[in-house]
Symmetry: C2
Subunit: 251 residues, 2 copies
């Protein structure tokens, strides 16, 4: 796409990862997620990347392997590295999600997340009510207590995240755990998406308590209902964007 002599300059070093191959992977990953290299496109070859980043081929190759492992690329001899179709991207991977967030309309991102949360979290709560171990219940309970204590300070986001992650873990289904990443990202960055920071904190605590109590006494039905109400009534969420006609789909 830009095989010229002075390509992107691809600003490195801005992201935190201390290792070079990590930085390179982040940079290339960001470029893919932001559409600089679209699915199907052939990336610059390894030698080019070396020049671009001033790194050794070893380092570049490790970065490429990282991206390949996340489903963004596929390399073949004599061809080079081609960007994989979107459905192969490992979007629930921590890094991929971060890159995705960096180059996406925040409201659209948030709407997509909430759409999935509304589907999953009530059922997750129900499963947790049925399958939780005592230890898992304790983890949920402790997170809730921390939420309550931290109520005064606005930094209740940490315990809040822990609460939802603990709930997810208590559902005891491996295929649900990947969503922790998504939930975490949504909750920790919520203030960036919604205008107000901690919306309706007075409703906030009781609703979480409702989930906790239902899970404690093993009532799937009540847990489902409580979790649903947390995501719909109180809103925590942005109800301005209709979940439906999100985007007419350019194609």
């Amino acid at each position: 796409m830009n095989p010229g002599k002075s390509p992107h300059k691809a600003s490195l070093a801005k992201s935190a990862g201390s290792n070079l191959h990590r930085k390179v992977a982040q940079s290339i990953g960001n470029q893919i997620l932001s559409g600089v290299y679209a699915p199907g496109a052939i990336l610059p070859n390894e030698a080019d990347w070396c020049r671009i980043y001033g790194a050794s081929r070893t380092t570049v190759r490790e970065a490429v392997k990282t991206l390949t492992a996340k489903g963004l690329l596929k390399s073949r001899t004599k061809i080079g590295s081609r960007v994989e179709p979107r459905e192969n991207w490992n979007i629930l991977d921590r890094d991929v999600l971060a890159w995705h967030m960096a180059s996406m309309n925040p409201q659209e991102f948030f709407a997509s997340v909430q759409e999935v949360r509304k589907i999953l979290e009530p059922e997750v709560a129900a499963l947790a009510a049925l399958n939780r171990t005592p230890q898992q219940l304790r983890a949920i309970s402790e997170a809730f207590e921390d939420m309550r204590k931290a109520k005064a300070g606005l930094n209740s986001v940490g315990p809040d995240v822990r609460f939802h992650l603990a709930l997810l873990a208590a559902a005891n289904n491996v295929f649900l755990t990947p969503f922790g990443i998504m939930i975490e990202a949504a909750l920790t960055n919520m203030f960036e998406f919604t205008s107000t920071h901690n919306p309706e904190p007075d409703m906030f605590i009781p609703k979480h308590e409702g989930i906790l109590k239902a899970v404690k006494r093993g009532s799937a039905k009540a847990a489902r209902k409580a979790a649903l109400s947390l995501l719909t009534d109180t809103d925590h969420t942005i109800s301005r964007i209709p979940a439906k006609a999100k985007k007419p789909k350019k194609i």
Copy 2:
């Protein structure tokens, strides 16, 4: 775990991937997923892996980077590579899922998948009914037609998978697409989990047709109901294992 001179011998070359670093990654990945190296354990260092597999350090490092990118490992200088906790594993990654399936009780795997499918697929169908593009509808429709044609032969698994994947794509939510891997794995290997191969093929086609029609005319409610019935009534699934008391959780 086995730092002796004659370690695992870790049979390579059995899996298809032609590249060496791929084979090494697969072998180590399998060992992690099968519990040879548990979360928190320190893996052999790079030099050891080189001896074990008879590969160069370059190759071993690329394999390690691959596994790191999938969330199975984390490497630190002077420490080595440590197996990450399970919740960080990228279980919806194609490879990780394959390794997981290779070392798991098939019925437990299938039960977990169906549990998630019952949660998601009705809502996926509903979203598809609301958000599908004409092209996406056509893809669903074509997959269904292929299913019907292939009805005589038992190899309807291909079109069946395509049908569900097309439905998933039509939901138009990036955070749902990762489940395609899981659904694909479940459907293509179903005959290994259930005793009978294509259970109740007479119900099979009409139920899929019900989903298609609902999606076509944009009825979320009907689509949800049809998708749910496909997963509960007909059973496609194994109802012998109660979804609840799966496993008392050894901890």
